[in-house]
Subunit: 352 residues, 2 copies
């Protein structure tokens, strides 16, 4: 006798608002403090110094996090869980991440597993986290030499983007994030791609009105792609343009090349591979290369250690039974996914 | 200028099958091995000894887990993640838990956070895990003296219940699990409750046909409650009948009193509190007490350390801003949730 029971699951409402503005952070934090959200804060160390006045008086409710890839570990995660436990955080408590992508990723993950999920709010303070990591619900930590290999899909309650935080970034940090805007334009919106190309000087000069517009469009484009495929079974993979190689470059360079710069390099070498294999026209490659040169991204990379590079490539979450997967884009800025990549040829591209 | 973007999230299909039968495990495991599921196994140490022939020849794909509450930790979780990483587990790999509730809980959690979620299959080998922990998608580990305080809601791909595994259990282990069947009957199905009451001797003698029927009905009842409230915002809390006190009893007894026995004690003392406060009739309390006496459960408990007990009570996930929450049931076996429990009175109940 076999009895079969069908277990249906009703899922939660996971929609949330992304607010984009300037000079709203103080008002928002005051609101949280006066609310019944029971807020607890994970704050990037640098932000905590610059914006110390914004933080609540009660320092027990603030965890200062030294945000770097080497701290995106189980060890730090456990410390955050201890912080929550010591504060007697309950299901009604809200965890607020104030910092860049690393802070947001580990905070979101910590929130997702404490009591099987407490609410959390993303307040991204870097360009990278504003347009990319704070949207889409990917959380995570690094493990066993693989980036973000441990984590969860967990949506924030809300995302607050205040572009005033961008004042804390130097040009390199700004461009590190801007690579994701170029990426999302490159896979889905030729008009936006051209607008960026034409206005590159104003962007570098950080024209406020223009930046608000660009951040908004970046968020809308990413949001639209995520909406269609939250759990990354197909279309969302387009957002990985540049990222298959980027993760390997980050590890191979011992994180000397930061994420956005690695994505820029990744886009270039992935497109080069695409041309070599006939998947795309050279024209598409040139467009991407020209754009990145305009913003003065590094456009050449030499692999330090082939074994480390290859191992990082194979450990990537984007690897499946279909082998290594790449994203390419055509001359009309329409992205596409290519499977079963020839790893040897891909590595050789770096020696051309 | 404030730009507001609404991020909608489409959730995954989370439904799955629960198969209940006897003598199907060998066939199922052979099927997994010959499939393209890329199976990896987390196996309870005792089960691995008794059923060593069932396990794949390739021992690298089997992680032997010493299942006890003291091992339900971040440390063991990290070892399992290492096991997955060393096996180059990909998103297409399937993690199979073969063991009781502790094994299932930590395996499900490990699967839920590796690459933000790989498929996993529950093969419960104890009565407790067959009727309770393997259904409903709660995963977790213990942390900072709180049971299951770290974890996720993560649904298995399927649940395979083979009642032949029950042969490995002694009477105490069997009754440890059976408390959850009594509990689910007590909060939702008076006919089932009476059937158990009337047939107690056949149950203790483990009549196979009867057990299949009882396990099925236990699963159906739990499944129906979970279906309505997967993320435990209201109705699912009914399943916590006996559990508010049980978790504290387990910790206060240093895990000498196992989960099911603690739930039995929890039901008794929670009902006693309910009578004292006038929430339920004494008749309801007597019905529960009589049932548990029939099966020879321990029906009296003395608190060892009031501070530890109280702290465990307050750290419980069921505590909210509404204070400690209890579940009670009436004489018709209809459960109800009671909030804002008087902790002092609750502790005094143990001294009556």
């Amino acid at each position: 006798m076999i009895q079969l029971i069908k277990q249906n699951i009703v899922s939660r409402d996971l929609s949330y608002d992304i607010t984009i503005s300037s000079s709203i952070i103080e008002e928002k934090l005051n609101y949280y403090e006066s609310s019944n959200l029971n807020p607890l804060y994970i704050v990037d160390e640098n932000i905590s110094k610059i914006y110390s006045k914004l933080l609540p008086y009660d320092k027990d409710r603030v965890y200062i996090f030294t945000a770097n890839e080497k701290n995106k570990t189980f060890k730090e995660l456990i410390k955050i869980e201890e912080f929550l436990s010591k504060n007697n955080a309950l299901r009604g408590s809200t965890l607020i991440a104030l910092g860049g992508g690393i802070t947001g990723d580990i905070t979101g993950f910590a929130a997702s597993i404490f009591m099987r999920g407490i609410p959390f709010i993303q307040i991204p303070t870097t360009y990278l986290s504003m347009v990319d990591s704070s949207i889409g619900g990917k959380t995570g930590i690094n493990f066993d030499d693989a980036k973000n290999i441990i984590g969860s899909f967990y949506q924030p309650k809300e995302v607050i983007i205040d572009i005033n935080f961008l004042e804390t970034l130097n040009d390199e940090e700004f461009l590190n994030g801007f690579a994701e805007t170029i990426k999302v334009a490159a896979i889905s919106d030729i008009d936006f791609f051209n607008l960026i190309y034409d206005n590159y000087q104003n962007i570098i000069d950080r024209d406020q009105e223009l930046l608000l517009k660009i951040i908004e469009q970046s968020c809308v484009l990413k949001s639209n792609i995520v909406k269609e495929d939250t759990y990354e079974t197909n279309k969302r993979m387009l957002l990985n343009f540049g990222h298959t190689l980027a993760h390997a470059i980050e590890i191979d360079s011992d994180n000397q090349i930061t994420h956005g710069y690695a994505v820029a390099l990744g886009m270039i070498y992935e497109m080069k591979y695409g041309v070599e294999k006939g998947y795309i026209k050279e024209e598409a490659y040139i467009k991407i290369l020209d754009m990145l040169k305009r913003f003065n991204y590094q456009t050449e990379y030499k692999i330090n250690n082939t074994d480390i590079f290859l191992s990082a490539l194979l450990k990537d979450k984007k690897s499946t039974s279909k082998g290594i997967t790449l994203v390419l884009t055509d001359e009309n800025m329409v992205g596409k996914i290519v499977e079963k990549i020839d790893a040897e040829l891909l590595l050789n591209i770096f020696n051309d």
